[in-house]
Symmetry: C2
Subunit: 209 residues, 2 copies
Amino acid sequence: MITKAPYRDSHGRRLSDYPQPSVAVDAAVLTVHDGALHVVLVQNDTGWRLPGTFVHEGETLAQAVLRSLRDKAGIEGLQPRQLHVFDEPDRDDRGWVISVAHLVVVPESSVTGAELTSVDAADGLVYDHATIIQLAVDTLRADYRASPDPEGLLGSEFTLLELLRLHEAIAGERLGKDTFRRHMIGQLVETDTYQHGVVGKPAKLYRRA
Amino acid sequence: MITKAPYRDSHGRRLSDYPQPSVAVDAAVLTVHDGALHVVLVQNDTGWRLPGTFVHEGETLAQAVLRSLRDKAGIEGLQPRQLHVFDEPDRDDRGWVISVAHLVVVPESSVTGAELTSVDAADGLVYDHATIIQLAVDTLRADYRASPDPEGLLGSEFTLLELLRLHEAIAGERLGKDTFRRHMIGQLVETDTYQHGVVGKPAKLYRRA
DNA sequence: TGCAAATAGATCACTTCTGATCAAATAGGA
DNA sequence: TCCTATTTGATCAGAAGTGATCTATTTGCA
């Protein structure tokens, strides 16, 4: 029962009387682990792949992604973002399937138990999943170039050094600390508290704007 | 006949035995007209909207977009680019329909006959079509910030002034000519020919890199 | 306690970028 | 023919940005 609506087109047919594709979602779940970007992979009978599922009726794509992460990788994700629709009609030999690739960014604490692979070492995946990872990484990098911590990976208060380390992990390269400080300070609100308990001059704590 | 493949899942069901959505495409066709960005709108019984259609079996999304433009607006498009999937299950009262929004950029000469509306004046549209236009404009602007003429709107050879006017039309604001020149020159190849027949010192003609 | 290592953040010289100015080159009209 | 308006593209001075240096402040260890 696909639709309860009494809709009929000019030929007296319902939408479901025409061929329809199955719609799947796949998610590149990225996290920062050990100073570098990692992606969550799962294994099924065909090899390593990104977690994914078919979209159920009455469900949005984002809901399908979150369900998939919960069921296949034990992850509580937050806000899936669409990356691309893979639509080659003969992409899947089970039939007509289009797949919507997503990016999900989570703090490392949310992915305990799942299999993490460095994004540089992720190859030999099924379908277009290596492409999806590349798209996801590029998107995440663009986000962090434009804003200090759009995905909220750092708690509510943090030092500029913590933010720098995060950006270096995401960018995959070292960033100049002086320029970084100057660019970030204008986009953050400073608190009147300082970090203590670590070696060095205490660093001011900042908050997202 | 959705699939000829003998695939059955572990419950003995084919993909088409599960509920599937109809998949539609909508396209924001942008062009530069009279020094400003315009979008192609079509009118049906529910009001003004972007051209769109349901995706047929065996067809990619891009093919569906191009078919829609040919049939509904008499436009020969080039390379549709995906923008976003609109997926609210009750978005369409005819049933479960997900819609993939696209951006198509064409030179003004390709849209003779279609109804052009300034992107600033496009409102009162059905569904999320105003949002799609905004997404399309933002995407196009980002493209032209990164590259001189990624959509090939200018012929193969052009002057820096022609390129500047194009960028101003797309950006929707005036751009400094000196900085513009400096940024662009490095991304173009100069020819040894000059523009003639217009007032002023002859301008060197450039080509895309 | 005192010294070494580490970090924060200010300051400085240097580089790069920007918009303004100006000379060169052309078309069109007086 | 000559003068004016217009545009190109180079040059220049000032603004903005960059990485290096230096000082202040803390922890950890001898």
